[in-house]
Structures are given as C-alpha cells and as structure tokens.
Symmetry: none
Subunit: 134 residues, 2 copies
DNA sequence: GCAGACTTAAACACTTTTCGTTAACTTTGA
DNA sequence: TCAAAGTTAACGAAAAGTGTTTAAGTCTGC
C-alpha cells in the first residue's frame, strides 16, 4: 500500500525547490543532470494536477458544476457570485454570507491571502444546496 | 496529457455504484466478472485515497514541522502539547481544544484507538495556524 | 444453513510511468 | 550580450499500474 501519488524522488525535488534551490543545485545534491531534475519536477506537478482533478471528479458524482471564482476576486464578493449562480438554476444555497466565507477559508486556506482569492476556485453544488470547492 | 487518476473503467464502475447497482449487475452490464468489478472499484478507491494524500503532502510543503505526538499519548493530552509548541514559535492555533481533537480523529482515524494515539503523528503548522497531521 | 453480495489472491498480458542520458533550445536578469 | 536558469525532444531500461480470469474466501440477512 503506497502512500501518495508522488515518488520519493519527486517529493525530494519539490522540498528542495520550496527551499529556493535551483535545478542545478538540486542536480548536484542528488547526483544527476539538471534536465532530469526538470523532468522530475514537471511530472510531480503533473501528478498534483491529476490528484486535484481526481477529487473534482468525486464531487461531480453527486454535484453539478456551478461556476468558477477567478483568481484575484475579493473574498467578500464571492457569496454574491455564488448566490446569483445558484438562483439561476433554482437551488437555495444552505449557507448565509458569513458562513459561506468561513467555509471557503476553511476549505481552501491556501487560496485566501487576506481578502484576495489567489487561485481559481471551481464551485460545485448539490441539489440540497451543499457546496464544494475544487 | 491524461486527465485524472481514474481510468474510464474505474469511473464507469463508480457511477453505476452511485446509482445503487450491485457489483453483479454492473458485471453483467459491462460484460465481465463480479470479481473484476470488485477489483476495479477497489483500485478506484485506492486512487482516490492517493489523490487526497498527495494534496495533503502539498500542504505540508508550506507548513513547518511543529512536533511529534509520540505513540501511546492520551488523545486528550494532545491539544496542550500542540498549543504549547505553537506558543513557543508565536503562532496562534486556529482550533480550540474540542475541534482540535476532532480534527485529529477525522484526519488520522487509524491512529486513534479509543483515547490512545497508537502511531507517531507528525504535526505541521502554517503561519496562519492551520494544522496538518502527517 | 443458504443465497446473494462482496473480497481476496495468484497469475498473465499489456500499457504507462519513472528515472536517467545527451544535446539543443528558450528565458531571464544584470 | 553573457551566463545562469530552465525547458524540450528522443530514447532506453526498469518499475509500477491495469484489466482480466479463476478459484476460494468472508459477511450478512432471512
């Protein structure tokens, strides 16, 4: 039973990158070429993308795609967008403005720098008005 | 460039399952054995587990290692340990005692037998006080 | 106990992924 | 413009994942 999608090599490279090392420096440390470090990093990112998409699929199993909150949106404007889209398809969102903002912050902490959404957020909604952020 | 982690076969089976069909019924529809449906479903769940774990790893990348809760610790003593360690580095944990215990139980169910932590748990924390258990 | 639903293990052919090389290419900052 | 950083393409070998089958196993409700 393996753990995640990423191989040891991929995690190793990502950690070094997070520390700010260049591909060449990492290549020296792990004794390979910088081209190889590049491809390892690239396939790691690809795996991360696939992991996200896999969970998106899960949500779509019992929810429908409502809208996308674009990168750069003010967090406080998000509820109005979501309420508007939900109204279009006649679903009542089961959160009020405040608790919706809290849900987003809890659900995607890495997307919320202060009041600014710093990453596109896909919003899914069930018939019952439950929301998912992918 | 493939999309998610799940194969077409795996998504097919999950969709039928969501509709409430038995493995035998699905086997008849897609013309194979029920044992095969079982293994396909199982590997789909395994892939979903791995997708989640992959994203968890991502979070630990921008969090710092706070401490280790040693195997054998009483679950109810954990919050005090974490609050203490976080205070040392001047970060305010964004959970209170009760919700912290719940977070641990949800996040690492296999580590909590009754009130006893039965596996070392590495605790990570972000500047914002968000916690991850690895 | 019995039937139906589900799980498991071993084995097999097949496909995909990974890590690595070399060599040429583009981007970026001073 | 120069050097360092990063990317890309083509290729190979080894490893891992997938879909299948068959046959045996567990678990559950009646």
């Amino acid at each position: 039973m393996k753990d995640g999608l990423l191989t040891d090599r991929q995690m190793e490279v990502l950690r070094y990158r997070k520390q700010g090392l260049t591909q060449q420096q990492i290549a020296d440390i792990i004794s390979t070429s910088k081209a190889n470090v590049c491809t390892i990093e690239k396939s790691a990112m690809e795996n991360i993308r696939r992991a996200k998409e896999t969970l998106e699929f899960l949500y779509t199993l019992d929810a429908t795609h409502l809208c996308v909150i674009p990168n750069g949106t003010d967090l406080f404007e998000v509820p109005a967008i979501i309420f508007g889209e939900a109204e279009k398809i006649n679903i009542k969102v089961k959160y009020d403005t405040i608790s919706l903002i809290n849900r987003i912050r809890e659900s995607r902490p890495q997307c919320c720098k202060a009041r600014c959404i710093c990453e596109d957020i896909h919003v899914y909604i069930t018939d019952a008005g439950e929301l998912y952020f992918g």
